[in-house]
Symmetry: C2
Subunit: 215 residues, 2 copies
DNA sequence: CTCGAACCGTACCGTACGGTACGCCTGCGC
DNA sequence: GCGCAGGCGTACCGTACGGTACGGTTCGAG
């Protein structure tokens, strides 16, 4: 069963959030070379405080990822009167959000950190990132897809398959290449193509799952 | 311009290959906790020899990844008499190979290692993995796609876009979830679905790029 | 047989870093 | 004013690990 992680704003005090911000900044800057001493210095706090608040290095890492990942908020899509145009625009919006998120520096850093963590038999960070990344989009997108099907605008058997196809059409090989540090995908390079990619992915998705497509 | 890395069998002596095998085994077992001492013990060689042969830890890591990645060999597809059936079977074969590779334990380990490496401003491992993974498939697939277009079996403007769509349709969110350690994707779980996924991805690819599809 | 190169095993060094201890300061309740 | 909790800064400890040095052994060339 899925593990859901909830983070209220009250989970961390402002001072603690400042510390987490410092940790995230260091993570983005220095890659995974995150040391407790560096965080303490950057946040102007003592290491003892870090250990008091977060337990150990893993706790600090988890808190940072968790806190940051929870900040990713998908825009709410109006699900009422769903005509073809509104549905298409919603799908496009999801594609745009997904691409924007995964190409962002913070997301790349968080995903790299979680992958590194997963390479050490620890899956906690991976779960958090999954839960707030792909799975969050899935939770928001599925109802839209099903509403589209109910309105006879879309046609599919499994909304899970439809979602995963959508994910593939949008993300393609961009995320893995970014994670691997492919230099030919610069930030600006990708961002400039987002709109075109969004449109292309949406077109393809409707070609496969639109009501007029082959069953 | 792309950096191509060539590894002949003569690049490493049998003894050296035994060392690299030991290193890879440790990598797969213990995640990225690869220490020089552990490799030396596992391979029954001295650390001094390791440093003599591979320079430093990074050199050993690079050699391991490079040597292993180069072992991935795509089957050659008969490109002559290309009828619809042969084309479809070729595409399916590529999808099957791609899925089989990326879901394999070795591939997951290598990708994780490269991602971790990329988080430290070093892109050498990432380049190697990219070059021997996605890009290798691309090099082999593109000529097939273009042959298919010449035979009027496929229709697309950019073979690059066609390739990337293919990649997305096949891989979807499987790779990132595996890299993040998603427990709900067990090895056997994925393998059992490969054939169905291959067929589905191929169907979708032909729906989008088949000659009878919308332009 | 002798010599030397290659290599194994092990001991060793330096450092980086996780984690702890302690002295000092600040602010707040009383 | 007084005491104390919370927190800063720094010094300190233990250990893991990258990298080096060295003695001993094997093996092939001459």
């Amino acid at each position: 069963m899925p593990v859901t992680i909830k983070v209220n704003e009250e989970t961390f005090t402002p001072r603690q959030q400042a510390v987490l911000t410092a940790a995230l900044d260091l993570l983005v800057e220095n890659g995974d070379g995150l040391t407790m001493t560096a965080v303490a210095r950057r946040a102007s706090c003592s290491k003892e405080t870090l250990y008091k608040w977060f337990g150990d290095r893993d706790g600090l890492l988890t808190a940072t990822v968790q806190w940051q990942a929870a900040k990713v908020r998908m825009p709410v899509v109006d699900r009422s009167h769903l005509n073809a145009k509104a549905l298409r625009s919603s799908i496009e919006q999801f594609a745009r959000d997904l691409l924007t998120v995964i190409t962002g520096e913070v997301s790349i850093t968080l995903n790299r950190t979680a992958v590194t963590h997963a390479a050490q038999e620890k899956d906690s960070l991976g779960i958090i990132v999954l839960e707030n990344g792909p799975l969050a989009i899935r939770r928001r997108l599925k109802p839209i897809l099903e509403a589209g099907r109910d309105a006879r605008l879309l046609r599919f058997e499994s909304s899970e398959d439809a979602y995963r196809t959508f994910f593939g059409l949008v993300v393609r090989d961009v995320q893995i290449r970014l994670l691997l540090g492919d230099k030919s995908l610069t930030q600006s390079n990708v961002e400039a193509n987002i709109e075109a990619d969004v449109k292309s992915a949406t077109d393809q998705f409707f070609a496969l799952y639109g009501a007029k497509a082959n069953p």
